[in-house]
Symmetry: C2
Subunit: 444 residues, 2 copies
Amino acid sequence: MGRAASRRSMRRLPPPALLALMYLTVIAMGTVLLSLPVAQEVPVSLLTAFFTSTSAVTVTGLVTVDPASTFTLFGEIVIAVLIQIGGLGLMTFAAFLLLTLGISIGMPQRVILSEELGSASLEGLMRLAKLILTVALVAEAAGTAILATEFVPDHGWAHGLWLSLFHTISAFNNAGFALFPDSLMGYNTHPVVSLSIAAMFILGGLGFVVLGDIAQARSWLRLSLHSKLMLVGTAFLLILGFVLIALLEWSNPLTLGGLSPADRLVAAFFQSATTRTAGFNSIDIGAMGNASTVLMMVLMFIGGGSTSTAGGIKVTTAIVLLLATRAFFRQRQEFAIFGRSLGLVEVMKVMALTTVSLGVVALSIFLIAIHWQGSMFDLTFEVVSAFGTVGLSRGATYDLTAPGQILICFVMFVGRVGPLTLGFFLAMAAQPRVAYPKGQIYLG
Amino acid sequence: MGRAASRRSMRRLPPPALLALMYLTVIAMGTVLLSLPVAQEVPVSLLTAFFTSTSAVTVTGLVTVDPASTFTLFGEIVIAVLIQIGGLGLMTFAAFLLLTLGISIGMPQRVILSEELGSASLEGLMRLAKLILTVALVAEAAGTAILATEFVPDHGWAHGLWLSLFHTISAFNNAGFALFPDSLMGYNTHPVVSLSIAAMFILGGLGFVVLGDIAQARSWLRLSLHSKLMLVGTAFLLILGFVLIALLEWSNPLTLGGLSPADRLVAAFFQSATTRTAGFNSIDIGAMGNASTVLMMVLMFIGGGSTSTAGGIKVTTAIVLLLATRAFFRQRQEFAIFGRSLGLVEVMKVMALTTVSLGVVALSIFLIAIHWQGSMFDLTFEVVSAFGTVGLSRGATYDLTAPGQILICFVMFVGRVGPLTLGFFLAMAAQPRVAYPKGQIYLG
Ligand SMILES: [K+]
Ligand SMILES: [K+]
């Protein structure tokens, strides 16, 4: 079978459908495994198994039960594997698929041989896979070793090493699952734990494209446009969140107020970083002030980087949204970032992605609200958290009825699979069939 | 002075700045007049006078005091004049300005002589002004006469006629100010009052462009693209809101539940229509369910028609947002509505308007939230209501601190002036100074 034939066979199912199908298959397998008695410390419903599996595969981290006390070691291993498949595995698969379709995913020329369709050779694919897996395994091995210095003294060798491995996998994949009932609140005075976990999920959230690019380019000027935007945008959002959360929560006795000034800074930084998709928390989210909570919703909606383990509409989408707005006010018909121009296709994609995202979030809030008696602010937070596959919670998820839980599963699924599949639409440009006369309408 | 010279003198100040300056001047004059002792039944602060004046000029209708018991007849007349200037007067002025700049505002060819810059003659301007004022005065005279049949028997000739005139001005301009402390809740079993008021604010919310177009074209096929979109979009939103509010509130004893089935239908229709910018209410907004409230926030954010007395991002903006999204998923680089194509300029404008609008709403909620102890859901509702110059309230406005009130004034001002001024930016297209090489970034 030649290259052309192999490409044709991968194209029989439309790529977005293929991707969605693979996620659904993994979620179903996880549901079955978590439903086995051997996985359960206490009996759980099929819905709980489904919710936990969906949350793990979509690397969200929202839970309706406490994982550590509900599932056995076998169940926890299942969750860790689901997280690794849902994060690393499917990202690698998505990168493969993009390459097979001849879509550049921004890797330097040394890794993919050419941006054109014909040359996405098996050789190029294997190199990419090796790079992604090498980056991930090195980072995860280092993370486990560092966390073990804290968890082994506290919990003994066996359990301590498992805790280190589990939280490393959860952190690098931005999953936010923790085996402590209060997430990482017990470690908010242990900077080694919170800073190394933060380092892992920030790395994972930049995306493999950026990590590979940095590994190959080694200088700012040689980085791709995408990598430059991601690094600048990530730094800006991290600092903005850090400064505002520190200012707003500094004297809140229920969050930062009870810590030493140095620990307050670490906790504010951790919360700023984790909100952008990781979903761990080292302070009580439900006790944070109204303004910090609004800020966190905006950060959760934006999320992390494309082709990463992060969710949300993505940092680059937010940047293009802002630049296109500025270009409009400056009466430009196209606009540039770092010396590269962006045109109608990017603007249309950003608009489509943002509109669909806002639509999914608003419609889900509306539907759950029909039978919701609790705080609408908390419900909104939970839906945005699910959409951004963040997993931070003000507690509303525990109060959801069965239809509400299923709807949140749908939001997590769309939040994870939706933005990814949009990338495939760029592959197949088509011309309009009929050219209409120009019309003018008034929008202001 | 020739035509060219007269055009040049109107252009010295940038049109958006000129428009904003005129609104600020009228607001300042209103604040001074409402601060006079002769305007006040009970003493009010300068801030209250400023808030009331801003709310009237921006035709919003949010209040921090009950207008009827706070202001004298003189004060009420001042409010009515501010509403008429802020609604009709400044819309006429904006239409003039657009014409002077040579921007077609969609009037049929018989009214404006040509769409090109040189031919926006004084003759054309006078015809337009005459048309707008004729439409408005005929509608307002008819409205006053119809309302008088209900208000005169209840309140005597003098007060009854004044109530009829005031509510007609408030309705046609979509201002939402009422001289009853419970808005129109006392008349929710009087279909003559609620349906005639609804007819007036729906007419006013379509926009003068559409009304003039209907008056001249008299057949669907000869209507402009803009008029067709507005009529279809308005009908769709009216019916959607009517059906959902009726379903969701049918058995709520605090809203529709206490009325007869026929009155429930009228009240549901009235609430659907008024949410899209008028701001009157015939049922208790604070008692409506969570889902209805979410729906109303979406409707308030969308608002009514361009060059109308309505607010929000506008119906046409929402339609282009949806069509551009659909076009993206169908891999089209341009898209068409009713046989007319729309391109990059419209997409950029829609994106700019939506981004700025969401930004203003989110930032205002964030800033007020810093010192807000009440319900965040109610606060969000109030900010969206102010942005859409709607004026519906769940009561949060009464609880605002002075900085919060000033911020809401700013939101009302931006909600009224912002979308209008965006129209001017389309006037002056400019080419990019440098052509950059094309760059690709990943947004999903
Ligand atoms: K997460
Ligand atoms: K209004």
